[in-house]
């Protein structure tokens, strides 16, 4: 019995010393965490660090990487002192350390003033004037676009994990400008499409807006950013898959904007990604080049990283 108690105390003591140690070993290997290849956040991150080939391909990454989802990466950084991962900025907490990128602190303010780089815009685009299935749909789409700039929509966007653009208008103060929203629209279908990364945000927005605008039917069919323009103002806009509102998780290209009026497009939010490490890790700042080198396997030890300011 004494032996057993002794054993337990020993294990307990070992565990406690294990917990209390906060020394960071620079020569330890970097443990790389990533999302899986179908993730929009991975796409945004890899494109942001200039490693877009790896967005959809695992075998380009450093060997021995781990695949986890957003919450699991966050959780892993509270345990693994030598890990590095990336999460959506809206899920960042104090339990982990969010790294500065190229010297800029990852914060909502720095995303909105366009100094923080690891981000992508969420854009919308609507059809040309009088190019809708019916006038009611056109009026509803205009009302929806106006709704996107209200604080009501901002709350929904922030809740869905993106960062809304600043606004002080409430929907109640402008809803009289859009009399269509006071009618019963439950027979009218508005078609939404484009970027699949925006689908969650877009669905949350249309769900809330439909209730405010006569319960119109919002049909979501998100197939990728390329279809944001193509299906509203491009080749397939008059096909069966045509859309009334298209989204894109990147800026529209100049080729796409060639036949589009400035009033037909705009930004609804930012999606920002932050690189995170364990709180015991002394590193504060990182650059996109270093991140690329870590994810590609050029740097495998923490001591491989060059000094940055």
């Amino acid at each position: 019995m004494k032996k057993i108690i002794g054993c337990f105390t020993l294990i307990l003591a070992l565990l406690l010393t294990g917990c209390s140690r906060g020394l960071f070993n620079e020569d330890a290997k970097i443990t790389v965490y990533t999302r899986d290849t179908t993730s929009g956040t991975r796409d945004g991150f890899m494109n942001g660090i200039g490693f877009s080939e790896a967005a959809k391909q695992d075998d380009l990454l450093v060997s021995g990487f781990l695949i986890k989802d957003n919450t699991a990466i966050l959780n892993a950084m509270t345990i693994d002192e030598y890990g590095i991962g990336y999460i959506s900025l809206s899920s960042l907490t104090d339990n982990v350390k969010g790294l500065k990128l190229n010297g800029v602190i990852p914060s909502e303010a720095n995303v909105l003033n366009d100094t923080y780089d690891l981000k992508r815009p969420f854009m919308w685009m609507i059809r040309a004037e009088a190019d809708y299935p019916s006038e009611a749909v056109e009026l509803l789409v205009q009302a929806f676009v106006a709704f996107l700039n209200t604080t009501d929509a901002g709350d929904i966007i922030n809740n869905a994990g993106a960062i809304a653009l600043p606004s002080s208008t409430t929907w109640d103060s402008i809803k009289n400008d859009y009399p269509i929203t006071a009618e019963d629209n439950h027979l009218i279908t508005v078609r939404f499409g484009g970027s699949d990364s925006i689908q969650k945000v877009a669905q949350a927005l249309t769900q809330a807006f439909s209730a405010k605008a006569g319960n119109f039917i919002a049909e979501h069919d998100h197939t990728g950013s390329g279809d944001g323009w193509k299906r509203t103002n491009g080749d397939s806009k008059d096909q069966a898959e045509g859309k009334d509102v298209g989204f894109s998780s990147r800026n529209f290209t100049s080729a796409e904007l060639a036949n589009v009026n400035a009033t037909q497009t705009g930004q609804l939010a930012w999606d920002a990604i932050v690189t995170i490490v364990h709180n015991d890790n002394p590193i504060e700042n990182i650059t996109t080049q270093i991140l690329k080198n870590i994810y590609s396997g050029a740097y495998t030890l923490w001591s491989d990283l060059p000094e940055t300011d």
Partner: protein
């Protein structure tokens, strides 16, 4: 008098027939689900091998079953999937977890059924039953929040830098915790139904309680205990949610290292399923098909062994 009897009897027969037909329909309905599920998995799962997958090319069956990398080339642009290494790691993990859960589960059952005082046994029995009914996601959360930390710190103590604790070891611990209640419940029933006369006979011959328990009771309950192991293996093979939280999502290369990351057939099916489409979506059904085959073969083999070892019949 006899007329009343006849009507009564025919009424009874009618009710019997109704009940009979009703139950038969229900049984057929529930049995037909297996065909429904089977055919959906089969149709979806065979598509990658039979069509050219919208231009990506056909997936080769032999490379699929023998390969060492989940996917070569970019997702949505390649058809070079394979699960060979996943089949082996899945079996390896299940075997290791059984190595822990089987002795623990059976000995717990022996204690509850034969040694513990009645009240204590009752208490333990309900605890085990509660454990058996805990959903797997709860085990997963426990694993992600607790086991990972312990495994990470333990491996640091022995001088190995594990990947945040995501490893074969954590997976095995979680699976063992999940299968212990299943094994305990089933083998406890088997142990309790051992003929009392056998036990009394052993005691009368001068064997001690411990000798009787280990040499007579466990031997007599062998067949039931083996069934428990088979059910445990079934649960471990099919577990996805909890395992995916602690496995680490390995995508290539076979590794038997206890502290290295790993993946099973089920976790690979689960990860990214929600955002997937096309071939990358269909291929998960093919993995499901492989999993079903693996489960069928393991069950068949285990039943074969069970028939060989479980020759002693009680009751």
């Amino acid at each position: 008098m006899s007329r009343i009897n006849t009507t009564l009897r025919s009424k009874k027969i009618l009710i019997d027939q109704f009940a009979h037909q009703g139950l038969k329909t229900l049984a057929l309905l529930s049995a037909s689900f297996i065909f429904l599920i089977g055919s959906v998995i089969l149709v979806k799962g065979l598509t990658p091998f039979l069509t050219d997958n919208d231009g990506l090319g056909r997936v080769g069956l032999i490379p699929f079953i023998t390969g060492n990398v989940w996917l070569i080339d970019p997702t949505f642009q390649s058809s070079l999937y394979s699960v060979g290494f996943l089949i082996i790691t899945t079996l390896y993990i299940v075997f290791l977890s059984l190595l822990i859960s089987f002795p623990v589960g059976v000995l717990t059952a022996l204690f509850i059924a034969k040694i513990a005082p009645k009240k204590l046994a009752e208490c333990f029995r309900s605890v085990v039953e509660i454990l058996a009914s805990i959903p797997s996601i709860i085990y997963g959360l426990f694993g992600a929040g607790f086991i990972l930390k312990i495994v990470y710190q333990m491996s640091q103590l022995v001088g190995v830098q594990s990947k945040g604790g995501n490893s074969v070891l954590s997976t095995v611990i979680i699976l063992a915790l999940m299968t212990i209640p299943t094994i305990t419940t089933v083998s406890e029933v088997a142990i309790r139904s051992v003929d009392q006369r056998l036990i009394e006979g052993s005691l009368a011959l001068g064997a001690s309680f411990t000798q009787t328990n280990f040499k007579v009771v466990l031997t007599a309950a062998k067949s039931g205990i083996f069934t428990a192991a088979i059910l445990g293996v079934g649960r471990a093979l099919g577990e996805a949610t909890a395992v995916s939280l602690v496995a680490g999502g390995r995508r290539s290369g076979l590794s038997f290292d206890l502290l290295d990351t790993t993946a099973t057939l089920t976790t690979t099916m689960l990860e990214g399923m929600k955002e997937s489409q096309g071939l990358d979506y269909n291929i998960r059904f093919s993995v499901g098909m492989v999993l079903l085959v693996v489960i069928l073969i393991t069950n068949f083999l285990l039943n074969l062994i069970k028939r060989k070892v479980g020759k002693i019949h009680v009751k």
